[in-house]
Structure formats: C-alpha cells, structure tokens
Symmetry: C2
Subunit: 233 residues, 2 copies
C-alpha cells in the first residue's frame, strides 16, 4: 500500500502517480473531446469504467423528474470520476457535463482490469481517491444539514475561486451557484448580499469577485460548527 497517506484535496489522482504508471494509464484510455456544455454521461448510463479529465472541467450533477438540477461538484484536470462503476455493478450515478473545451480519457472496466495486472500499485491510488471522495461527501452531508445557505455559499466560492488581478473570482451565474449550494436562486442572492455586506465579495455579471480569499476563509472558519479535520498533524 501507499506508505505515505495522501492529501485530502481532490484532483491529484494522475499527478501523484509515478511517470511509468501514468503513461500506462494514459495508453489504456481513449481520448474524447467535448465542447462547452456537451453531455459526457448521464445518470443511468451503463458504462463501467474510469473517466480521467485531461483538459477542461466537468460539472457533476443530477436532475430529478421535475427538472430540478443539483450540482454535486465541478471536477478539474487530473480528477477522475466513475471509479465506483469499476468495482460495483451499477450505472453512472451522476450526469457529467463539459465546462469549457474538455478532453476526457475513458478507460473501460475491461481495459482497467487488465491494467491492474501490470500496474498493481494503481489500486492504492484508487483507494486513496475513493477515500478522499468519501470524506468529501460526508463533510458535504454534514454541511447541508447544519450550515445556513450563506456558509455553504462561502465554502463553495472557496472551491470555485480563481486568481484574478488583486483578488479572486468565481465564474458562473447565480442559478449555477444555487444548484451547487442546494438552494434556490433567491436564497443564493440573499446569501451573496450577506457576504457582500460583510465586505467579503462583490457580485458581477456571471461572476462573484472575492476581495480577499483568506478573509473569506477566516469568515468560514469562525462560523464552523464541527471541529475541522486537520490533516497530517
């Protein structure tokens, strides 16, 4: 197994591998390109395999019978999804949609099974990846239960933030944000106003400008109910 336990942050499935393993994985997959907004997979697709994001980003979401969509996470390059379908006989659980020009490497379960013969250490990377995802999901579950909308929004903004001039920005409409924090657009707007009143963010057209990322982090940390899980020590 992996001697040094891995970090909590997602998106390093590929980058943590030794070069040889990485190229073996890459060779086993088929590269498929998607345009912005293209559907990569839908919930229910029976497509067992691993999907590796090579370029671009992927929004994982689910839409119910009434058309209500909720976004679970937006994966970036180096992230993987679909691991569960490798080991469980279930279809894809979430819809995946390309955010921007996106390239995905698809490794079918059959190919992956063979790959494991030559790269047995790959299992440890998957174990760590699944553990990270599970950890994230459990935290989300708790957040959804306990945190008010403004807090969930702040946490989500932290994950979405990209450097921009002096500060940071999170791109996307308020409707998109609403789907990510599991709230309505109105509630999201109010939560944004709350953060804006606190001087933490400024709203723009399809964008939220974050003056000081650390200040936002502090704001979140001060208000957390559950003791955070510190990594390493």
């Amino acid at each position: 197994m992996t001697e040094t336990p891995l970090s909590l942050s997602l998106g390093q499935f590929i980058s943590r591998m030794p070069a040889e393993m990485r190229s073996a994985v890459q060779a086993a997959g088929t590269l498929i390109r998607y345009r912005d907004g293209a559907v990569i997979q839908q919930r229910g697709d029976r497509k067992p395999g691993l999907s590796i994001i090579v370029e671009g980003r992927v929004r994982m979401s689910a839409t119910d019978s009434e058309g209500e969509r909720s976004t679970y996470i937006v994966h970036g390059p180096g992230n993987v999804f679909g691991e569960m379908t490798l080991f469980l006989d279930i279809p894809r659980t979430l819809d995946a949609v390309a955010v921007g020009e996106t390239a995905i490497r698809e490794v079918s379960r059959a190919r992956f099974t063979r790959l494991l013969d030559t790269q047995p250490e790959l299992r440890d990377h998957l174990l760590a990846s699944l553990a990270r995802q599970l950890s994230l999901a459990l935290e989300r579950l708790d957040d959804q239960r306990r945190l008010p909308a403004a807090m969930r929004l702040a946490k989500t903004l932290l994950t979405l933030a990209e450097p921009d001039g002096e500060g940071h920005v999170a791109h996307g409409s308020q409707s998109g944000l609403a789907e990510a924090i599991a709230a309505s657009r109105v509630t999201t707007g109010k939560a944004l106003a709350e953060l804006a009143d606190a001087g933490l963010v400024r709203t723009g057209y399809r964008a939220v400008h974050i003056r000081d990322l650390d200040a936002l982090k502090d704001w979140v940390a001060e208000r957390s109910f559950l003791t955070p899980l510190t990594e390493g020590d």
Copy 2:
C-alpha cells in the same frame, strides 16, 4: 481486481471474503468489547486503522459545537468503518457508539499494511467497500436535498426494520429517528403521523411498527424523484 462486481448493500465486507483471507484479517485485529452506549471512537481521534464489527451494532454520528447530533448510519455485524484512515492521513470523521452489546475488531494501520503483503486481494474488497459507501453517501446527499421529511423517514425505516411477528419493527425513540433523518423531533412526529395515516406504520413506545414492508417500499418507490440505480441488470 474482483472479477464479479459486488453488491450495493453494505455489511458484507467480511462475509464475502474467502475463508483464508477472513481468518488472516481476524488474526490481525484486537477484539474489544463495548457495552450498550459505550463510546468506541470520537470524531478527531487519531487512530488510523480499520474497525470491523463482529457483534452488535454501531451508530455513526457527529455532534456539533451546539450539541446537535446527527446520525449518519447504524452499522451491523460484518460492516467496517474507518477505512478512510487507512489511506488518508486524517483522524476519525465520525463518533461511533455501541448499540447493544458490541464487539469490534480493531486492526491498526501498521498491522493492516503488513496484512496487505500476504493478502493482496484484500485491496479489492476495500475498493468495493469504499465504492459502496460513496454510492450510499451520494444518494443520501440527494435525498437530503430533494426529499421531504416523510420520505426520508420511510427510507430510514426500511433500513432499520427488523422482522417482528406478522410484520416488522424499527426500534428506537423518535428523537433517535430525528437524528437519522436530519430533522427535528416535531417534524419526525408529523412524518410518522403521515405514514400512520396512510396505514403504513403504527407508532409505539420507542418503536415503529411496520405492517407491510413491501407496501412501505412501494410507497417510497412511487414518490422517488430520481430514477433509482438498478444494480446488475
């Protein structure tokens, strides 16, 4: 890797193993007994390792700084918890409390690492176990977002139900149920009343009697928003 992908239901980590692997795992662990209500671990405990439930049940929950507790799941015999701490350098994420007389086999990370050398196939069992847990967590996340309290209650009752005479029973106080469905006691009471009005359950002292488990299942299925993930085919 495992040739035949495994089932979605939890609690078969141990039972699915070949006899030899099972005894190797058992030999690697220390058996510890707990009385009803005893604390097995607390969120934040830095105790990397795998905990296997040999006997009894374990309630996994988290309590915030205001004393509000929410139950994530109640594990039964054959289930494991703590897998994440084997591969990630994080403390235990949830509190674990014994429900009834309980026996836990604790395998430290050090022991487990050595065990993997002699039982490499163990990794595949862990992969499946983590995949199942993740799948469950994602479904929960969606349920919490979309389903009204009565639905969440019904689904939880299905997992808690034990055979009892003609029908089934779920034991526990309404406060306990409330913690499991992430709602207040009042809301839980109302949801129970709703199910009772529909003729599906009957409330008792620290118990909910389920007349016809299949009828309750149908009630849930009819009202689900998300298309269920059918296993196998």
